[in-house]
Each structure stands twice: as structure tokens, then as C-alpha cells.
């Protein structure tokens, strides 16, 4: 009998395809209501933090340098009131084999896939994660497929994504490229079913456990190098895994800094729009992923996402595209380090945040990513111009996503903007209540308080306000 491979038929088979492709039965973590056993799911990998560190050593991952950005700190102090301007450090994750922190995320998955006898691994990603999976598969001797959303209907590809395709191929992966649209998931399901490969999802517990080592390592390095814990750790936020894993790792080291999420402001651009696809100059680290994945994490390729950033977020800020390109230039010109651009979203935010803090405070930017052809300020700004975007020096507050990119004419014009975190918390709680027919149980309320890093009173107030509406 031939399989029905229509869109609706394949999506109807999603639960069994995903279950076979990640080897996890998610139903055992469910309560039947809103709450589910998040920590039980995280522990279900069977790999402890020490195990994950050992696995990553096998792939030559981790122990990346923590670098003090003396010159950027000096520039920040010149902009701050007397006695202010925190020390800024950056964790140079570009030093990892695949050129970004994402390889931490891939390692446990690929180690596990190999151990469980899967014939290969597949990943759906247009980002650095593709190269990360390809890198680990190369080392493990596993075939690898990376599926990317890359082109608009004119066949014009984002230069940043094309470079990532090149890198995946350089590391031995088969790259399948698609035009814009969330139905990418349909092709992924078909390929998983046809190949029997492991789904190296970004959102399983394997992936997030891999990032815990970043936070754990960072805490240790601060204690050894600086003699104190960081006051603030800034994480670029898109799907939420980076922040979730880093925070969990910090907590496991008994280190509790303020955790700040930073995203590029792409307000007004629709992520699944064919005509707007090439109007943006960032393909990750932006609000188009950061907002929806924070307020509702369970929208990924697995039933329950292990990336749940609102559980750990103390503050959320946005920066403009022009501010991130500018910061990328500062890192090159003042520190002699060429990285990013997208990974420098958190550094742009840190430059702003450090001005609010005393000179004794320590702000850590927890990642960098490699730079290359296509994945570079000049490549991405040239591409923006070709797509009708105005590029100028001025006040970044005047930037309109999809129309203009404004680099700060002076560093004092770089200013992160606050996101209303309580509004995001209420959004998650309200949405959660809508997913069940009965009133939330007391276990649900305790769960939602953890989900949003808020009090149970906050959850109850939000639920009663929603009920009144």
C-alpha cells in the first residue's frame, strides 16, 4: 500500500513520526490539564550535566574564552555618568568547532542518535544550528540532512542563510532548501518518515541540556578570572533555548545573575510572508521568533518544548537592526574581533545596559558567532539596499523594519528598549487557560507561576481578569 503523502495526511501522522524520530514519549509528562512535568522531561535524557560536559569534550566543544572588552567598556564609561559603566565580557562561542554555541545544542542529540542506532540525523534550521548538527554528525560518522527556509518566490536567497548552507555542505551535510513558508515542517515530516533519521530538534531536552554547559562554564570562568559572579548575563533570544539552557546552567553552578533577553526589533514584519522575507536583515535573534516563542513555547517541532525562556527571564529588551550592525563594527574596530552580526544582538543590548550599572558591576554577553561571506555587515546591508531598504547613519529610533536601517551616528544613540515582561507573562497565562475546557487546577497555577517566573497571586489575578473579559 502506498502512503498518502498529502499535506493533511502527513500532518495527521505527525505524533507517531515525531515519537519515532526523537524516541521520546511526551505523553508521560502530561497531567491532562495545563501543567506538565517540565523537570521530569529535562531529566528524561538520562544524561547528567557531567555526562553532557564529557560528551561535548569528545566533540571538542566548550572551554571557549571569556574575554573582557576593555575598549568597549571605556567607550561605555565615556557615555555614562561618573562612576557608572559596567565591565563588559563576551564568551567567544565562535571558537567552537561549528562557529557558534549551537554545537553545544547539537552534541547530546547526535551522541544519543548514534548510541540509539539511528541511521542518520535531520535538522530543520536556517541558522547556525545546521552547521552544528553537521559538525557533530561528521565527527560521529552519521549522515546528516539540513532543511532550510532560504528563498523567496523570486528565487532570491538571504545571504546569511546561503552561507549557512555552504557551511553545512562543507561539513558533509545534505542541504535541502525551500521557499518561504511554515509548511517546511511538512517536508521534514516526510523526510523523517522516509529516512528513519533522528530528528535533531532544537527544542528537545537533549538540545537544551547541551546549552546548560555554557552557563555552568561561564559561572566558573567569572569566579576564576574576575573573582566574582556576573551581575547581568545577556542572551540573544529567538526560540528561547539559548536563554533557557544558559540560565539553567548558571543556576546549577549556584550563580543567580539578572538574566536579560535581547532581540532585534522586527516589529511589523510577518515571518511567513513571501514579500517581506527579504526585507529583513536578520534571520534569527529577532522579535519575530523571540516574542511568540517566549509567550507560547509549544509551537515547535516537538509536542513540548524544552526551551521555556519566561521561566528564567528577568528582563527583556529589544535593539534595532542598525544598532546590531553598529555594535558588530565596534567589536571589530575597537576590540579587533570580527564576529556576528546576528550573535551581537546581546552585545548591543549590553552596551546600553552597562551604562545603567556602576563600574564595579560585571555584564556578560554569553555568545559570539563566526563571520563569513554573506554573514557580515557589508553583505547584509548591501542586500538590504538591493531590496529597497534605506541605510543611513542617524538615530536608530527612526528605523522602521522593512523600510529603513539606521546605524547610530554617535554611540550615545544606541539605546535598548524595554519590553513589558508582565504583559508577556499575562499572554502566556491567558493562552494556557484557553487550551483547557475546565478551570485551571491548583497544580496548573503553581505550574504557570514557574512558567512565567511570577507569583501564584500574579497568575490568579491574570486568570480572574481574563475570566471577567
Amino acid at each position: 500500500m502506498t502512503k498518502d503523502n498529502s499535506y493533511s495526511a502527513v500532518l495527521a501522522r505527525k505524533p507517531e513520526i515525531i515519537r519515532a524520530a526523537v524516541g521520546v514519549d511526551y505523553s508521560k509528562f502530561e497531567s491532562g490539564s495545563i501543567a506538565f512535568d517540565y523537570e521530569g522531561m529535562m531529566a528524561s535524557t538520562g544524561y547528567s550535566l557531567e555526562d553532557v560536559i564529557a560528551i561535548q569534550r569528545g566533540y571538542a566543544i566548550g572551554n571557549t574564552p571569556l574575554i573582557e572588552l576593555h575598549n568597549i567598556t571605556s567607550l561605555v564609561r565615556s557615555l555614562s555618568k561618573t562612576g557608572y559603566g559596567a565591565r563588559i565580557f563576551i564568551k567567544d562561542e565562535a571558537a567552537n568547532p561549528s562557529g557558534s554555541f549551537k554545537v553545544r545544542r547539537a552534541a547530546t542529540s547526535i551522541h544519543h542518535a548514534k548510541r540509539m542506532g539511528y541511521p542518520g540525523a535531520l535538522s530543520a534550521t536556517s541558522g547556525n544550528y545546521g552547521a552544528a548538527v553537521a559538525s557533530c554528525c561528521a565527527k560521529s560518522g552519521l549522515p546528516c540532512i539540513v532543511v532550510q527556509e532560504c528563498y523567496d518566490s523570486r528565487g532570491v536567497g538571504q545571504p546569511e542563510i546561503i552561507e549557512k548552507a555552504r557551511k553545512c555542505e562543507a561539513l558533509g551535510a545534505e542541504v535541502v532548501q525551500l521557499s518561504v513558508g511554515p509548511e517546511l515542517f511538512y517536508t521534514v515530516l516526510r523526510m523523517l518518515e522516509d529516512t528513519g533519521y533522528f530528528n535533531a530538534s532544537l527544542y528537545t531536552a537533549f538540545g537544551i541540556a547541551g546549552i546548560e554547559t555554557l552557563g555552568y562554564e561561564l559561572a566558573g570562568q567569572c569566579r576564576t578570572q574576575i573573582g566574582k559572579d556576573p551581575d547581568v548575563v545577556v542572551c540573544t533570544n529567538a526560540g528561547g533555548g539559548n536563554l533557557t539552557g544558559t540560565a539553567r546552567g548558571l543556576y546549577k553552578a549556584d550563580c543567580f545573575p539578572e538574566i536579560v533577553a535581547a532581540s532585534v526589533n522586527l516589529k511589523g514584519l510577518h515571518m511567513a510572508s513571501d514579500t517581506q522575507f527579504n526585507k529583513k536583515s536578520f534571520t534569527t535573534g529577532h522579535t519575530g521568533f523571540g516574542m511568540p516563542f517566549s509567550t507560547w513555547p509549544d509551537r515547535s517541532d516537538v509536542p513540548r518544548s524544552a526551551a521555556r525562556p519566561l521561566r528564567y527571564m528577568d528582563r527583556y529588551v529589544t535593539v534595532r537592526q542598525g544598532e546590531v550592525f553598529y555594535t558588530t563594527e565596534l567589536l571589530a574596530r575597537l576590540e579587533g574581533i570580527e564576529r556576528g552580526p546576528a550573535g551581537n544582538t546581546s552585545l548591543a543590548a549590553a552596551i546600553s545596559i552597562a551604562q545603567e550599572l556602576p563600574e564595579s558591576a560585571v555584564v556578560v554577553v554569553q555568545e559570539t558567532e563566526y563571520t563569513g561571506a554573506g554573514k557580515h555587515g557589508s553583505a547584509q546591508l548591501s542586500f538590504a539596499r538591493q531590496n529597497g531598504i534605506r541605510v543611513s547613519l542617524g538615530d536608530p529610533k527612526d528605523e522602521v523594519p522593512g523600510e529603513s536601517i539606521v546605524l547610530p551616528a554617535h554611540p550615545s544613540l544606541l539605546r535598548a528598549e524595554e519590553v513589558d515582561l508582565d504583559h508577556m507573562r499575562r499572554s502566556l497565562i491567558t493562552h494556557a487557560a484557553e487550551t483547557v475546557n475546565q478551570a485551571p487546577t491548583s497544580a496548573d497555577i503553581a505550574f504557570l507561576a514557574q512558567e512565567t517566573k511570577a507569583s501564584e497571586a500574579f497568575v490568579r489575578n491574570t486568570l480572574s481578569e481574563t475570566a471577567q473579559k
Partner: protein, 100 residues
């Protein structure tokens, strides 16, 4: 024209405009979901013909032949004066010197 065994790029349509997901924006719904894959060509063919390839992972995939020996042409883009000006100005603010 490409020969059997050549490393080629093929194109196919995965979903026609009428088959696209309900939640997709209108502009995206008007165009097909397209796919590009690379592999070893299974028989001699001309560009535009339907062909089969075997990919790096051994999958047999069919589509329209669009390129033979595909290579990358992405670059560092054009000169962007704003980036250089921004970098020069920040350097001058920190270390001093003349504007040029």
C-alpha cells in the same frame, strides 16, 4: 546539457498555491512551496528536463534540472560607507585623532 554522474541541482514544487497551509499569509498563498536539492544525476539530461538524482545521504529525488556543478557566489557585498564611517568615528572618540 549534463551527464550521468554529474553533481547537479534540481528544483521541484512541493505544494501548489491551492495546497498551501491555511495559516499562511495571502502573499505566500499565491505562490508555490518550492524546493532545491543537489545530487548525482542518474542519466544524461538537458536543463529544464525532469531528472532523478541520488543525494549525499543516498536519497533518490526527482525534479527539474537547473544547474550542473553548482557553486556558491555569495560574497561580502558592496562597500558600505556608513559602516566604515561609524567604525572610524568610534575609534576617534576612544583613541583621538583627526576626522578624515
Amino acid at each position: 546539457m549534463a551527464n550521468k554522474g554529474d553533481w547537479v541541482r534540481i528544483h521541484s514544487v512541493i505544494l501548489q498555491p491551492g495546497e498551501r497551509a491555511a495559516a499562511v499569509p495571502e502573499d505566500t498563498k499565491r505562490v508555490p512551496l518550492e524546493q532545491w536539492t543537489k545530487g548525482y544525476l542518474q542519466a544524461d539530461a538537458a536543463f529544464g528536463e525532469q531528472v532523478s538524482v541520488v543525494t549525499r545521504t543516498g536519497r533518490l529525488v526527482t525534479g527539474t534540472l537547473v544547474d550542473d556543478a553548482p557553486h556558491y557566489t555569495h560574497s561580502f557585498g558592496d562597500f558600505v560607507p556608513e559602516l566604515q564611517q561609524a567604525g572610524d568615528e568610534a575609534f576617534r572618540l576612544l583613541f583621538g585623532g583627526e576626522r578624515r
